[in-house]
């Protein structure tokens, strides 16, 4: 059985992958219109969501959503809900994968064929999705243990760079008191949405304890701040909006 700490890994993973595509874009689009306030609110809302969902699902030890819904609802309804979830997940996964391929082609290896890269990722994903949940959690832990130090190093390196414009950051900070905005609030809470994974992974959690939920809040807040401010610091308050993959352009310029 998985220990409760794996729950945090799921959330941390989700908040770290948020920089890949849409979250920074949405936040930065509304940098003058309440993105900052939305971040602050999303930290509170997101943490509450995590706590709430974790609390509810911990009432069903070792059961995923299919097993929980199964005995409670008519079969047809359960299948419909599960189908809906499956489509949702598939679309989310496919979008991430496609944008990943695009990023790879644009920034890492421009001379490889798109189908080849796609194929490579797909083979990996197909191999991995045949493994059981527990193995995937173990793997997630290892991958996080390898990448987290690199991410931290890169972040500190980015913040310590003399070309990082703190003035731009402070300038955005003056828009703090602008009323929050729905789009950026929704985007920012994505960082906390790792708890959704529990609907399947709860099968391997026996006694989920939610003692250190505050870690999720702080971590999510820091990640969102970095997500939001580092591109601004590099490209200036106005320049950031010219990039599609804001963060990869930032990483490239570092």
């Amino acid at each position: 059985m998985a220990k409760p700490r794996y729950f945090y890994y799921l959330i941390i993973m989700n908040s770290l992958i948020n920089i890949i595509n849409f979250v920074p874009r949405e936040l930065i689009d509304r940098r003058f219109e309440g993105a900052l306030m939305s971040i602050v609110i999303s930290v509170i809302v997101g943490t509450l969501f995590v706590y709430w969902f974790g609390f509810l699902i911990s009432k069903f030890p070792e059961k995923g959503i299919p097993e929980i819904l199964g005995p409670l609802m008519p079969k047809l309804l359960v299948s419909a809900i599960l189908l809906f979830f499956a489509v949702l997940w598939y679309v989310a996964g496919a979008t991430t994968l496609l944008s990943f391929v695009d990023i790879t082609l644009r920034f890492i290896s421009p001379d490889t064929g798109p189908y080849l890269v796609m194929g490579g990722f797909l083979i990996m994903v197909c191999i991995c999705c045949r493994f059981d949940s527990l193995s995937l959690l173990f793997g997630l832990e290892i991958i996080l243990a390898i990448t987290l130090p690199l991410i931290l190093y890169a972040t500190f390196k980015a913040l310590g760079n003399p070309n990082f414009s703190w003035d731009a950051v402070l300038q955005i900070g003056t828009h703090f008191w602008h009323a929050p905005d729905w789009m950026s609030l929704a985007a920012a809470t994505f960082s906390f949405s790792g708890y959704i994974n529990l609907i399947i992974y709860n099968r391997v959690f026996q006694n989920l304890k939610l003692k250190h939920i505050w870690i999720v809040g702080i971590e999510g807040f820091l990640v969102l701040l970095v997500t939001f401010f580092v591109p601004i610091g590099y490209f200036g308050t106005v320049g950031v909006e010219r990039h599609v993959y804001t963060w990869f352009a930032t990483a490239d310029s570092i």
Binding site: S109, G120, A145
Partner: protein, 456 residues
């Protein structure tokens, strides 16, 4: 008869109860007109000839039981049993227990097989014991029992192979072993149908259910001290007759990178050596792949000087970098393989001369770059840092997967391959136990864990 029974006298029956599941326990009753005696000993640690000569023969020759008892008491090295603990200790260290007239005596009959035990050949250490397993099961058991003198060390024996009828012994420490693992192993061995079983590695192949496995999931070792170390961690050891190797299971990925020297050296030296090994594995796995990726796909990642250096050394090379890498890697594999098969006296010479001359000539002819030679040498050397052969061979083959990924997709391929490999390792189970994960974190969180297998 004439004496009062001692207060804390031990009975052989009681001792025998403690030693249940000892397949090599011998319990004889000697009966002669003058009386009877019970004889109890562990076959693998005692000398059968000595027992027959000094215990059994006098028993039938002497007419009076008291005289025989006196003879046993006064024989050098024998002692009277007082407590059950002491009795077990004595039995396990090679004494034979003898019950005469409701008293128990222990008679020194230790078997010492010093002459036939040879030094380890494939897992050498600088300091520490250098006994290796031999091809005789009894001697191997003796080597293990002498190092693990606990009544909890149980042994079961089995015959495997319809024709070869190879004796296989399962050893485990009852108080520490995981009984699920044991049950699974028994079931697998029980249903095994083979004709010939000649090597421990062969047995390892039969008992692992996964046919397409890339990495070994059981340790095959020739060091009794490694077996003992693992037994104490609650693992099961399989000793096979006619082969000088034992199988230890279940094991985790980390176990393959523990050399027995680590314990002998100072702690910080041990950690350093372990770190060296991990770096070595990383190098041997990734260097060739990185070379391909960095020269053919992503030269912009490394510093411009290094790029120019590599490009300069490859200036005369007439084909893409992956052909160069494959040629040199294959050449290195040929040399390694050849040096195993060559007669001992010629082996090292052939390798050095072959390696040096081939490398030198190949660069001078402009067929491979200079940097490539350095890289291949580094790969070849670092591969042999892994203390256990099975793993070392696996890693040797695995690096080609990474080279392949680098050929197809460059740096991205390596990353994909690495993630895939990590996930694969995580999905593996060795006899139902997780094979690879951050055991270190478990240790930190729990404070202590029973075994030390996962300590990084």
């Amino acid at each position: 008869m004439s004496e009062q029974p001692h207060k804390n006298v031990v009975s052989l029956e009681g001792v025998k109860g403690e030693l249940s599941a000892f397949a090599d326990l011998v319990d004889n009753t000697l009966v002669s007109p003058s009386g009877q005696a019970n004889l109890l000993y562990i076959k693998s640690v005692t000398d059968a000839q000595k027992i027959s000569r000094t215990i059994i023969t006098p028993f039938y020759e002497m007419e009076d039981m008291s005289a025989y008892r006196d003879y046993i008491i006064t024989y050098p090295g024998s002692e009277e049993g007082t407590t059950v603990e002491r009795a077990l200790e004595l039995l396990l260290s090679g004494y034979a227990g003898l019950a005469i007239q409701s008293r128990v005596y222990f008679f020194d009959a230790l078997l010492s097989e010093n002459s036939s035990v040879s030094q380890t050949t494939t897992e050498s250490v600088t300091q520490g014991p250098s006994d290796g397993f031999t091809e005789n099961l009894a001697i191997n058991l003796n080597l293990v029992r002498r190092r693990y003198q606990s009544p909890q060390l149980k042994m079961e024996s089995m015959l495997i192979g319809n024709i070869s009828r190879t004796k296989v012994a399962i050893l485990y420490d009852e108080s520490r072993v995981n009984h699920e693992v044991l049950a699974e192993l028994r079931e697998k061995l029980g249903t095994l149908k083979v004709d010939i079983l000649q090597a421990a590695g062969e047995l390892e192949k039969y008992i692992s259910s996964d046919k397409l496995r890339l990495i070994p999931k059981t340790i095959v070792t020739e060091r009794p001290d490694r077996v003992v170390f693992n037994l104490a961690e609650g693992k099961v050891a399989l000793l096979t007759d006619t082969t000088g190797f034992a199988i230890v299971l279940p094991c985790i990925f980390n176990d393959f990178f523990i050399a027995m020297d680590d314990k002998i050296n100072l702690p910080f030296v041990g950690r350093f050596l372990k770190l060296l090994r991990i770096i070595g594995v990383a190098m041997t796995l990734w260097l060739p792949a990185l070379y391909v990726a960095l020269t053919s796909y992503n030269p912009e990642i490394i510093r411009i000087q290094i790029t120019l250096l590599i490009a300069g050394s490859r200036a005369t090379v007439p084909y893409p970098s992956f052909v160069e890498v494959l040629i040199m890697l294959l050449m290195m594999e040929f040399l390694t393989e050849a040096s195993i098969r060559l007669p001992r006296a010629v082996g090292p010479t052939a390798t050095t001369v072959g390696g040096l001359i081939l490398g030198q000539a190949a660069t001078e002819a402009g067929l491979v770059g200079n940097i490539m030679i350095i890289l291949v040498a580094a790969v070849a050397i670092s591969n042999f840092l892994i203390p256990l052969n099975m793993m070392s061979f696996s890693i040797r083959v695995l690096k080609y997967y990474f080279v392949l990924a680098a050929i197809v997709l460059g740096l991205v391929g390596i990353v994909i391959c690495f993630v895939g490999f990590t996930m694969y390792l995580c999905s593996q189970r060795s006899f139902g136990q997780p094979y690879f994960r951050l055991f270190l974190l478990d240790d930190v969180m729990k404070g202590q864990r029973k075994g030390k297998g996962g300590k990084g």
